[in-house]
Symmetry: C2
Subunit: 242 residues, 2 copies
Amino acid sequence: MAAGWFYLSLLALSALGLMCILFTIYWMQSWHGGFAWDGTISMFNCHPVLMVAGMVVVYSAASLVYRLPQSWVGPKLPWKITHASLHLLAFILTVLGLVAVFKYHNNHNIPNLYSLHSWLGITAVFLFACQWFLGFAIFLLPWASMWLRSLLKPAHVFFGASILSLAIASVISGVNEKLFFSLKNTTKPYSSLPGEAVFANITGMLVVVFGLLVLYILQASSWRRPEVGITTEGQPLLHERE
Amino acid sequence: MAAGWFYLSLLALSALGLMCILFTIYWMQSWHGGFAWDGTISMFNCHPVLMVAGMVVVYSAASLVYRLPQSWVGPKLPWKITHASLHLLAFILTVLGLVAVFKYHNNHNIPNLYSLHSWLGITAVFLFACQWFLGFAIFLLPWASMWLRSLLKPAHVFFGASILSLAIASVISGVNEKLFFSLKNTTKPYSSLPGEAVFANITGMLVVVFGLLVLYILQASSWRRPEVGITTEGQPLLHERE
């Protein structure tokens, strides 16, 4: 891929990711009273922002590290560390996002983990935790054999994309659920599409477009390190030793 | 892949797909009064069943046609026709699913297409329609050049998987939304996880597991036609002439 096109795409993707976060912040700030870390509804408002930032945007940035041409030359260890560190940051944001909703629920005697949104979301977070620890143990620590790395790499890549897909489905169901909760009154129900509904629906669709673009880049051969004579599947990006 | 393992996997996947449809039917039959085609809530009940059957299960079956080893030998035209016909069946079921919800809404003066679930769902259906017509024109009709086919095949494959992902996110948000609608009363709210909530949540999670397995098979090299000396990306399954 030409360098100009690559950097333009990267800039557009970064702008879109940033928009996903900023739109979620604006939604919570303008229609739900903003943020606090005190167990009130303002603490709940941190939940969508932290989940979109952690499980979607930073997670995607971490996943795309190996699509940077700079990572295709020289030692791989710094890029592996960047990949793992960004995913750790994504995981920390995600856990904070969970704390925000659990603490709000507990303070208001609302049960946790009853909706399908929450079942799917907690499954995505659980898989993310497993993926991170397995990735750390197998691909970053130096003890795993090349055989084990090449055996597990396809699963690592597949679960990486799957967790992002589950996160996006969780975001969609979460935004939908929140709008049915907050737009209940009969003068401005969700079904009359008031300003908040349109804005939050657009935010959800932005997250979907961002996620699909990331998934496209992850699987497109034109974004991968070019290697002659090796099939895409066998490309030893992660399982080569430093 | 060994033939025994292949057919066992296929059987398990078919059983899971069938379970997704049967569970949705059972949910609508047992807790929502069953089915009719008369503009009442019983007509709405056809919507989740037809969408799960059309956009998820039959769509997946149609997508997986080229993963059958039988399709790897002999003329490709019969398999292309099977692929297109099954997708057409999936599309017809999907359109009927849309008719069910639109007619119910119209008969009860409920606005259409206001929720994020519906925005995402209608986007998935629109992309599905574009994908089918483009696929038909480029890959089934004999006029497109091999150059055009090989150019468009990666996009066809990517959008195929993306539409399934969007469909699954739509199903999740739809099940979640339906449960918040129907489990409103204070004696058995959704948050107390009554029988219906547990059953429908499990149905949603089954759809997710089914979808992930299909997406895994679609991208796994062990499920593709083995070809020596050709990279996975360049595998000319669709763009070879009969």
